[in-house]
């Protein structure tokens, strides 16, 4: 007992040393970028819910503030880091960065974050003008929103690139603690990015459309590029699965938390008389194809990239489509309307008695040959995006600055 005691006391100073070194190894701006990415992902889900429940917002509505907080944190931390390295940095620091425009030294991740912050800044006056000219758009995809969305994605991507660059630069010289931090940061930043990727195309992912091939074609065009590249670049096992879990928990968490708060529609006309925040979508069951991606990459990472892409794309379609198809059935049933899946959710401006509320929209149902053909096309789209994702992942695994 006594000996044990003394051993414990001796360990303490050693631990502190490790912590100090890990802090030095992972720059603060990387933690800040990942946190910014989190703010953006949460802010976006919250903002959509706000538009479904309250309707009226201003420049400084709470969800907007969450998104701006992300932009500001990421922009300032990255900007300061670049300026600091450029003008006050040591030669060693400069040698770890990219020199651009003759004077600046910055990491690629920081450059992405700065670009994202500027894009978000640009979108604000552009969006304001757009609303005054074409009316307030009650949709996710419009040109100014695309600029905003690109800005947000770039910040999130910058966070991911920053994490992976540290990982690649230090390679096997990492201490356990730093390694764990990087591992977590990688899973988190990639998961937040996946939330954004999903939301960007969410107009095609509505539950009522999930028995239609277009949903899966759009999914194959947008999701593998994120999931496969992350899995391929990762030095850790099960990267895509962890990414999918983070995505699932964040989106589902919003479905569980938002309705706890009261909301009152502030715009006319109101057809659905709600009293609580209406959550956005319950997430896709992406854990299933993520497992498939991780298994295939773990087994055949070094085989021909086209063959690998084909295997992943087919595996993705064959695992994801049936899983999501029946998962959609479950959500469409009575079970889906409880708090867990949140499919009771309906915007204040939608008619609650609509005959299409709890059915798959008859215009969006694929059957028979159409279904087979459509999924074949989805797999072909997936082949292209997966192949791109492999190159992308290959590049990400080399980024060191």
């Amino acid at each position: 007992m006594k000996t044990n005691y003394s051993t414990l006391t001796l360990e303490d100073p050693i631990r502190t040393e490790i912590e100090e070194s890990s802090i030095r190894v992972i720059p603060t701006f990387i933690y800040a970028s990942v946190f910014a990415s989190f703010c953006i992902a949460v802010g976006l889900q919250w903002d959509i819910s706000w538009h479904m429940s309250v309707g009226r917002d201003g420049l400084f509505s709470p969800p907007h503030l969450a998104i701006y907080l992300g932009a500001i944190i990421s922009g300032i931390f990255s900007g300061v880091k670049v300026l600091k390295t450029s003008f006050w940095g040591s030669l060693e620091e400069k040698q770890q960065t990219i020199k651009f425009w003759g004077v600046f030294h910055g990491s690629l991740g920081a450059m992405f974050c700065i670009w994202g912050a500027f894009a978000m800044l640009t979108s604000a006056p552009f969006d304001d003008w757009w609303h005054n000219t074409y009316g307030l758009d009650v949709k996710i995809l419009s040109p100014p929103h695309a600029v905003l969305g690109l800005g947000m994605i770039m910040i999130q991507f910058g966070a991911l690139v920053s994490v992976i660059a540290v990982q690649n630069r230090l390679g096997k010289n990492l201490q356990d603690k730093t390694k764990t931090h990087l591992h977590w940061l990688y899973a988190l930043s990639s998961g937040f990015l996946l939330v954004m990727g999903y939301t960007f195309f969410a107009e095609y992912f509505f539950l009522s459309r999930q028995h239609h091939v277009l949903t899966y074609q759009v999914a194959m065009a947008s999701l593998p590029i994120l999931m496969v590249s992350v899995a391929f670049a990762s030095p850790y096992k099960w990267a895509a699965t962890k990414m999918a879990i983070v995505y699932t928990l964040l989106m589902a968490g919003m479905v569980w938390i938002l309705p706890l708060f009261p909301a009152e529609p502030k715009l006319s006309p109101v057809y659905n008389y709600i009293t609580r925040f209406q959550p956005f979508h319950f997430p896709f069951i992406l854990v299933v194809p993520a497992l498939v991606i991780d298994i295939i990459i773990a087994k055949w990472k070094n085989s021909n990239k086209w063959l690998l892409a084909a295997a992943i794309s087919i595996g993705f379609v064959l695992s994801f489509v049936p899983a999501q198809w029946y998962f959609a059935d479950l959500q469409m049933s009575e079970y889906g309307r409880g708090w867990f899946f949140g499919r009771y959710s309906l915007p204040y401006f939608a008619n609650p008695d609509s005959p299409y509320r709890y059915i798959f929209h008859p215009n969006y149902i694929s059957q028979g040959w159409d279904l087979v053909k459509g999924l074949g096309i989805a797999a072909l789209i997936g082949l292209v995006t997966t192949r791109l994702a492999l190159s992308w992942g290959n590049w990400m695994s080399q980024v060191k600055r």
């Binding site: 425009w101 006056p125 609303h131 074409y134 009152e264 109101v270």
Partner: protein, 554 residues
Amino acid sequence: MGKNKPKLLSMIKKILLPFLLVIILCSHVGSPGVIFEGLLGPYRILANINPPDVVPGTAMVTVIIPDNPVGILLEARPVYWSAGLKGTPKADPLVAVPGELGKYEGELWFMESGTSSVQLMMTVGGETFDTIIPVMAVPTAQKEMPVELGIVLSLLGILLVVLMVTIVASAMSDSIRDPGLERTSRTKKRSQIGIAVGSIVMLLILWGGKSWWDAESTAYQNYLFEPLSGQSEFIQEENGNYLHLRIDELKSTQGRITRKISYMVPDHGKLMHMFLIRKGDLDVFAHLHPERLDTLDFRVKLPPLPSGEYHVFADITRYTGFSETIVSELIIPPSSEFQLASNVPVYLGRDDTYTFSNPISNKPYSLDGDIMICGKPGIKTDLPGGYSAVWETETGKFEAGRLYNLDFALFDPEGEAAILEPYLGMMGHAVVLKHDGSVYIHLHPTGNYSMGSQMILLERFESGKIGFLDIPKSLSFQDSIDQVISFLDALPDTERDSLLMGDMVHYNWDDPEHQEHSMVSFPYAFPEKGNYRIWIQVKIDGQIVNGAFDVEVE
């Protein structure tokens, strides 16, 4: 029979009143504001609503309470015909404008196109009074980007493009270089390829973005409110000359139900109020009421009007509360004048009327010092039959965008106050036309709204009906409306007027200053600068009397 008639009348009155009294809501061209004058609780108020020009967008609501009471709470909210009161969020307070006594302002969001209204609510001493003012929510404007904003956005855009090209080039070259290693010729080459690839990608994105923007802009233009148009034709027949109006079919995909032409309902007992004004000199004015031949075709007998080109404005309204003005042109050929000169008697409809006045002069009217009404100078116009009208105005100056009461005093040939009778259910009608024809509006003493439209919206709101599902079939609806019109046309004047006036409460100006003459007053805000002509129409001794005034708005 004699006993049954009042019963039948009261029954018809009850059933049809909402339809009979639906009034012109946006029967105007180039004059978007909705003006209301009336009582709200114990106070007389004047409200001016500037509907949004982009939908979804905001409307500006201005309320003036001349008594400037203290301790009141004034609120407003937009209520849609389709959503009713339950589907309308809590009202927003209107805020007192500093420095302007009794003036309140507020902004309201209109999220959908269609028939809507503003509900004004006033809380005085624990009691709440409210009123409904109909408003059409339609997108009417396509805006350009201000140059300053364009410059700022362009600069930011260039920065984003250049930075992204830099990022792509760095990603392909420097980012994968081990720390501490110098650039090699290979890195440099990859960087150059990166610049090329990045530039091409950015150009593609910009091109895609532009196509997208253009497509959105085109989609918006298709969504813009397009007024109904029509073709007016002059037709000579043995028993006289006719105007045939064919309404062009609605092309817009917006408002397929709201703007259905077969949903037309009578306004002041008439399905259509048509105004003919000779172009250029604006010296000939006629107010006619065409009959419906079928859904799109209308016809009316023409009074002996001189040849020339005419503006034709036809005001209609619908069951859904949506009303508008059909604009067309009529050419009366010179040959017809010959026939008219031969003094063939023309039998017009009993409510149809026309008048000749002096051609518009380019000089604005000056105030006549000899004409003083209540100590204020006025502009006098002689009316047919020895009557006269005086436009009472303190300065004779009018500013665009400001709300005025256009006050007219009417005199009989003896110079005594003329006794006004209701004409088509109103104590007076006025038409305002900008000399170039770009602004046209039909006014009433209550503004450009009536108690009737209030009633149709209120009744719908009380019924709790929402949406577009429980509404009548267009053909049977058209038939029953035609029957109502023929019933009304067969009624004698007094009975019809009492039916048309309904429960309308005309605010009696309790104004000792004006006891010795008859006044008719129209609240209006001229939308833009320029020269305007105003025709007023009143009924004295059973005769419809028209008079024209000119005004320059600064």
